[in-house]
Amino acid sequence: MITAAVHEREHYLNASYGIKSWLLTKDHKRIALLYLGTITLFFFLGGAFATLIRIELLTPTGGLVTSETYNKLFTMHGVAMIFFFLIPSIPATLGNFFLPIMIGARDLAFPRINLLSWYLLVVGGLFALFAMLAGGVDTGWTFYTPYSTTYSNSYVIATALGIFIAGFSSILTGLNFIVTVHRMRAPGMTWFRMPLFVWANYATSLIQVLGTPVVAVTIVLLFCERVFHIGIFDPALGGDPVLFQHLFWFYSHPAVYIMILPAMGVISELISAFSRKPVFGYKFIAFSSLAIAVLGFLVWGHHLFVSGQSLYAGLVFSFLSYFVAVPSAIKVFNWTATLYKGSISYATPMLYAFGFIGLFTIGGLTGLFVASLGIDVHVTDTYFVVAHFHYIMVGGTIMAYLGGMHYYWPKMTGRMYPEGWAKLSALVIFLGFNLTFFPQFLLGYLGMPRRYHVYPDEFQVLHVLSTAGASVLAVGYLMPMIYFVWSLRFGQMATANPWGATGLEWKTASPPPVHNFDEAPVVTHEAYDYSTVIQEVIEVG
């Protein structure tokens, strides 16, 4: 029940009021919420594009929208989802909010730079929105030259600028996290006492810092080529369009790990908290995050197997690609083993975690298919690849993101979400997701190319199934949106540690005070030490 005492306590949400106190805040927790609002907007924007795409594909003849519009839809779906939702998703919201708290810091190392990163994302997002509203962009989110530089008549420049600016948001977030983890840990918080979520975000930050600049400069060159007609990649001058693909994928493949690594971090937290056990093989999971970050930079050429890249480069990149599979497998096995002899709760976040492991397993295993040269020649640029990366990015990242949202919602807002609805939404999303994307594996192997507006009749049944699934999925995604907002006002008040979880974030009040802790924390235990927590749970009742 709501008590007066709870109301009076000062925390980061009620410490100050007014629009300025938010737009000029240096508090990482408030900035996390600003990010949350921004990326939610882009998620539903991208989702709206996806809905139109799926409706269009109900019929093979392309009757709903023109080819031009369709091409813009899938491009803008990709741009909105990848650059303005998935890449900032977990690091900028949950990471921003919890990384400092988890290591016992009062804030990130550079709070003003943190706020700047949010503004950069907003400005980049406005450029992209302008491009979308002014008429759209039709190059595909990959911007392959020479189509993007010479042939497209759409708003390539505004979109590219938007992505360029958002890239700096990502770089600065990464930089901030790395410095914070190195320099801001509380006394006693050694590297191997850090929660795995911190490890995962640290690894992610490395990628953001090392990879993003390359795509930034690639976009600059693309920009110059389109505006000033200087031809860095122009075949008419002897330039090589495949070079663009190399530079683009040098970032954009590791970018996949920017999306999935923080998700893996969330899952480690959830699996441990809801089995009440330390994560099995803590160090293996920690190091596998770093291994993924590093190895992820050695494999980009597997996007170029049929591009005209040399045979030998193809062999090298395929070989290296399989090395990334191993740390991912290690994580899945360790999570599963954590359940063994645990005390497993079926709370909503755990259901999302189960969903994540299942979908990520399928997404990861199909990754082995596309890394194999012989199969990739057939399935690349088909719906097989579309299904594969949606299993990773939607089935993986978004499941973990929602799982994390439910898990941390009480801490962030001080309110509980409605458990029954939440369980239902987890189930609906899992089923809807599989119905949407599993048929796409079949479509892909059958030979349905991606980015096709009209398609041969024989593919229709599978497309209809996929669209049916998408409508279920859409309902699934709208549900949390609604009940989260509802809970802000009507949700039950949350205690400091509603899950009986470990970690400094659960030792401070819900919502946390402005400076995160009332008393400077000192860490004396390993991560995931449940013996002391259970005592508290029993006492609180």
Partner: protein, 225 residues
């Protein structure tokens, strides 16, 4: 309950516990930023390597059309500016406020000279029709089918020196800020991190030029003369 939050000052912002922690964090932050800059220029170096390997003769001819004397002078100017910059940092370490200001102004001056020389070079390029993407582009000494490859060289030349110059302009802004702050007496022996960190940036821009100079200006000069 002991409140662990202290009042915010320039040398000890509220998120940090000690001034040393803050200085370490700032320095590390700048180094990581410089690594992102390495990768940023790295993309262009990769493109440069690919095309120079593909069209070595054209690159040699195109490179020889650049003004090596001005390039060398500019390298020297930039090295001098790095020297004055490090002297400014040294003055910061010693707490000599006037020396900080003097050396920063000298650095600013050399930076300005570099940009001036750069502007002269670019103007020459315009007059010689060595601007890629223009119909009038023509590089003497090359066959018609090599003009495209020469344009690639000049595209890279302008992209690389242009982005380098942009970094110089940012650096000039940074120096102006530091001079202003130094005049206000912000810096002392205990707090001159901005000078230190600004210096790192300035030296980094110098290092980029150290590579740009031989790679763009000095390809097989012996062929031409």
């Amino acid at each position: 309950m002991a409140n662990h939050v202290h009042a915010e000052t320039l040398e000890l912002r509220e998120q940090f516990n000690t001034a040393e922690q803050q200085k370490d964090a700032s320095t590390l932050g700048m180094w990581i930023f410089l690594i992102t800059e390495v990768m940023f220029f790295g993309g262009m170096f990769a493109a440069y390597t690919v095309y120079r390997r593909a069209y070595p003769e054209v690159f040699a001819v195109a490179s020889s059309s650049l003004n090596a004397v001005l390039g060398a002078i500019n390298t020297g100017v930039l090295l001098f500016s790095s020297f004055t910059m490090v002297m400014a940092v040294r003055a910061g370490q010693l707490g000599q406020r006037n020396m900080i200001i003097l050396f920063l102004i000298l650095t600013l001056f050399f930076g300005g000279v570099f940009l001036g020389v750069k502007a002269i070079e670019w103007t020459e390029k315009f007059e010689e029709h060595h601007i890629p993407g223009q119909a009038a582009f023509h590089l003497e000494g090359l066959a018609p089918d090599q003009q495209g490859h020469a344009q690639l060289f000049f595209s890279l030349y302008f992209a690389m020196t242009g982005l380098h110059a942009l970094h110089m302009v940012v650096g000039v802004g940074l120096l102006s800020f530091l001079i202003w702050q130094a005049k206000k007496g912000t810096y002392s022996t205990t707090y001159f991190t901005p000078v230190d960190v600004g210096g790192l940036y300035w030296h980094f821009v110098d290092i980029i030029w150290i590579f740009l100079f031989p790679l763009l200006y000095l390809i097989d000069r012996h062929l031409g003369k």
